[in-house]
Every structure is written in structure tokens, then in C-alpha cells.
Amino acid sequence: MSLLMMSGSGAVYLLAAAGIIGIGVYGLLSADHLLRKLLAMNLLGSGVLLLLVTLASRGGTPDPVSHALVLTGLVVTVSVTAFALALLDRLYRETGEIRIDAASDDPPDPADPADAKP
């Protein structure tokens, strides 16, 4: 992996991790559907894990401690995601809404031009 450092690839993955974390934070704050908030949270987590592993392989050999840590993190992430989805299902059945600010009473907007075309 010294090759990784020499070729500057470590910096590339560092940039990617920073970008993914930024996108995750943006999505977490801007998304209105809770399922998408959950996706953003997962992205944020993935970015952090990527950051950890990139920093861990900056020396000659990859660091097994952080690899083990990240491996644990991956399994925990999927279980937390499943738990959050169970909470979402319950929320939906209790309130019929999948947003946090369910109190606002604006009517459905079928033809919002901002979302009409991707």
C-alpha cells in the first residue's frame, strides 16, 4: 500500500470521504422523507468509515485495528438501519406520515415543477 501513498491515491480517497460526508450532512438536513434521511445517514457513516480506512493505510501497511473497527461498524450500520426502518413503519402506522414535521398542513402539490423532471 505504499504504492497507494506514492501515487497520491490516498489524497483522492480522502477527498472522496470528505465529499461523501458533506453530501451526507446536506442530505440529512435537507431531505423531507425520513427514508431519504436514513439514506443520508448511511452515506455519512460510509464516509466516516472510508475516512478511517484511508487514514489507516497512510503508512506502509494497512492498520488491522481500524479495519476491525470498520468491519464492526459495517455490521452495526446495517442493524441500526433495520431498526430505524422498523421505527419508520411504526411511525407510519401511528400517524400516516413519514416526515418529522408532520404538523404542517399544506396540501399535496401534484405538479411541483422543481421535481417534475430529474
Partner: protein, 122 residues
Amino acid sequence: MNTVLSGFAIFLLLNLAAGMVRAFRGPTSSDRMSAALLFGSTVVALLLILAERDAMPALRDVALLFVLLAAILTVAFVGMPAVDAADQDAESPGEEGGAAPSNDARPGPAPKIPGGGRRAGP
């Protein structure tokens, strides 16, 4: 030989970028899913190439896992109902609004919408 392998890997990544365009544009959910299929098969090829190039035989196991589990996604996908909000959410996101039908209204797996699930919207 490493140069050839790297070049081929870059070519495959460019293919992935093209697949990303299809996954993003849709227009139907089936299109997005088939683009995801392209991703699976291309990533498998990439893993095999990288396993050879970087001398990491474990990446072949990763490729094996991908082909083994690739079908799970499509099996999960076919159960999706083709109600308007499902297939057409790209075009009309707010259509179903807060209609919130109760769960009991759609019992069982793979509810089939008569009439081919055409849009009821505007």
C-alpha cells in the same frame, strides 16, 4: 500487462458512468433496476481485473459474493407494487400526498394493480 489491465479497468469504470446515467434518468423503475444489473456485472469484472493486477486474491471472493447475491435485489424488486407513486415518482412526487391508506388495504405480497398501473394523475 499491468498497463493493459489498468486501461481495461478504466474503460469499465467509464461504462459504469454510462450506467449511472440510465439509473438516474429512468424513466421507469425497471430501467433503474436493469442499470443496477449492469453495475453488478461490471463491478464483478473490475474486481477480477483488480485481483490480478494488485495481486489480491481475496477480491475474487468478493466477486463470487456479488454474483451469488446479485439476484436477491431483483427478487426483492419484483414484489414492488406498480402503484403510481412507485413507478412514476420521478414525474409526480407529490401525487399520493398525505393520502395514507391503511396497511390492510393492500394485504399480501405483490399486489397487482388492474389495468397495468397506468397513471391516475393529471
